[in-house]
């Protein structure tokens, strides 16, 4: 089999060798419990505090504002649920966007069942939050605004600073799910007025099952997991020391190479976008052209269905993803693609390619060549395309 071309870095990334290397001694040598008194334990404890410092520094936050979790979804659940609970006496209204990750959306749905009210702010055709709609949605009983930093499907970067300013002015807490953005673009929690931020390790070449929640000092929040005194008593359970060390190593790496990585990824991304736009008819680039993550490409191809495209790409050794219903396990295509106004059939024909700095231009070219060939093949099979062509020729 040919070498795999991995273009699904928004799903997960390869764990960087230096990350694995940093983690290994915490499995084999310094395996002590960070809460223990002997030196084997204190070594682990030291590693955890160092990791906390590294991460705090990357956000211009304080170490005691960083709480380790088992990933992005846990951090989102914690931020939204615990805030709702802690501030319920002040109000029961939450504002979010229509294009959040399910970790936020489904948590909001859960809170609706518990008597909270949630307003879902729409986005424009490029996936940018409608700020005016957000401003109008603010009520005296609004306790939380939660809007993602950048979208996982279409890569759109949200006007986070503006949202943060609105929240600050109105005295509302602002949480952002930065799982896709953290480590990819610089984030300063003070500059953007972010009160809480979720991030995940495996999206930035760190280990799976790691992540953190930033909680600004002074914010009233509830413990997410009750038990021991770990994470200042707010998230009990023996620390995943190797995971935390790996996460910090990944963060260090991501911030050290960010500038160079971004430059490389943008070049790769733009090659895909330019060639697809030019060479494949009846396609649409989803997401904003400018306010876009450096690694994200998302296209809809008319008259074809995404899963077929993914299987055929896989046969050629190319890993990608789609917002088609068949890949989500439901009959509905991606809520993000529907929110930007795509018709169902167009949303079914979507393809997401997310590059990394390890990809090459040759891989981009080969990918476009393959997509072109597959789309032609699938369109030749498509009754929708047949009808479209006949209509065009005036035969139908």
């Amino acid at each position: 089999m040919e070498k795999v071309i991995y273009l699904d870095n928004a799903a997960t990334t390869k764990t960087a060798p230096e990350v694995v290397e940093a983690m290994t001694p915490y499995f084999t040598e310094y395996y002590g419990n960070a809460s223990s008194i002997y030196s084997l334990g204190t070594q682990a404890k030291k590693a955890v505090s160092q990791a906390r410092e590294t991460i705090a520094e990357s956000l211009r936050a304080e170490p005691n504002e960083i709480y380790f979790t088992a990933g992005g979804s846990e951090a989102d659940n914690w931020a939204v649920k615990a805030t709702a609970e802690a501030y319920a006496s002040k109000g029961r209204h939450i504002i979010t966007s229509a294009i959040e990750h399910h970790a936020v959306l489904h948590t909001c749905k859960y809170l609706e069942q518990k008597g909270f009210e949630v307003t879902y702010i729409g986005v424009d055709e490029n996936g940018i939050l409608k700020i005016e709609e957000l401003k109008a949605a603010v009520r005296p009983d609004t306790i939380l605004i939660t809007v993602m930093f950048a979208n996982n499907e279409i890569g759109t970067i949200q006007p986070v600073k503006e949202i943060g300013e609105i929240a600050k002015e109105k005295g509302i807490l602002f949480h952002t799910d930065a799982v896709q953005a953290y480590g990819q673009i610089p984030i300063d929690v003070d500059e953007y007025h972010i009160d809480m931020l979720s991030a995940s390790g495996h999206k930035l070449n760190g280990p799976k099952g790691t992540g953190f929640l930033y909680i600004r000092k002074g914010i009233k929040t509830r413990s997410f997991i009750h038990g021991g005194q770990q994470e200042r008593g707010r998230r009990a359970g023996t620390e995943n020391v190797p995971g935390i060390v790996g996460l910090a190593a990944a963060v260090k790496r991501a911030f050290a190479i960010m500038e160079e990585k971004t430059k490389k990824e943008i070049a790769l991304r733009d090659r895909l976008i330019e060639r697809i736009k030019k060479e494949i008819p009846y396609c649409r680039l989803n997401g904003d052209e400018k306010k876009r993550l450096p690694n994200n490409v998302n296209f809809s191809f008319q008259f074809i269905e995404g899963e077929s495209l993914l299987i055929m790409l896989d046969m050629k050794g190319i890993c990608a993803s789609s917002g088609s219903a068949c890949t989500s396990g439901s009959l509905d295509p991606s809520h993000v693609l529907l929110a930007i106004g795509l018709a169902h059939e167009t949303a079914h024909g979507s393809l997401r390619l997310t590059v990394s700095e390890e990809n090459t231009m040759e891989e981009m070219d080969r990918t476009v060549d393959c997509i072109k060939e597959i789309i032609e093949r699938l369109r030749a099979m498509s009754p929708l395309y047949e009808d479209f062509c006949k209509k065009k020729e005036g035969l139908l």
């Binding site: 008259f303 295509p333 018709a343």
Partner: protein, 147 residues
């Protein structure tokens, strides 16, 4: 996720294409749900299916079931073709994942729709054949967009 047979029929679909001046054409499914199947039948004067072709917009399972369905009805009489069930299509493919069973139903439905069209055109009644339930135009309100 898919059986080898499904992968085979997906990568090398049998009888893909159109039949000009077909005896019967049936289109079922809905683009909204992500699957549309169209079956073309060429039926001779003795009621035997001489040729069958398909076109499908859909996932891997939708393409594979269409392909297998054409294989199963080719050479059969109209009555025999009517007796080809979605179960038969699934079995011939060595099974489908549970979420894809509806694709096989769509294939059965597409054959029925093409037979119905044939019956209508020739003013005949095929015993046991009912008017196809799902239609491509069902629930299709907005016009297709174009770029």
């Amino acid at each position: 996720m898919y059986s080898e047979k499904v992968m085979d029929h997906f990568s090398n679909p049998r009888n893909m294409g159109e039949i000009e001046e077909a005896s019967g054409v049936g289109t079922v499914g809905n683009a909204k749900c992500g699957d549309i199947m169209r079956m073309y039948l060429d039926i001779d004067e003795n009621g035997v299916i001489q040729d069958c072709k398909f076109k499908t917009f859909g996932c891997g399972a939708a393409i594979a079931t269409s392909s297998m369905a054409t294989e199963l009805v080719k050479g059969k009489t109209v009555e025999q073709a009517l007796a080809v069930t979605n179960k038969a299509v699934m079995e011939a493919l060595d099974g489908l994942p549970p979420v894809k069973v509806h694709c096989s139903l769509l294939a059965e439905e597409a054959i029925h729709a093409a037979l119905w069209d044939y019956a209508q055109k020739n003013h005949i009644e095929i015993e046991g054949l009912q008017k196809p339930k799902s239609d491509i135009h069902e629930g299709e309100e907005e016009p297709e967009e174009e770029y």
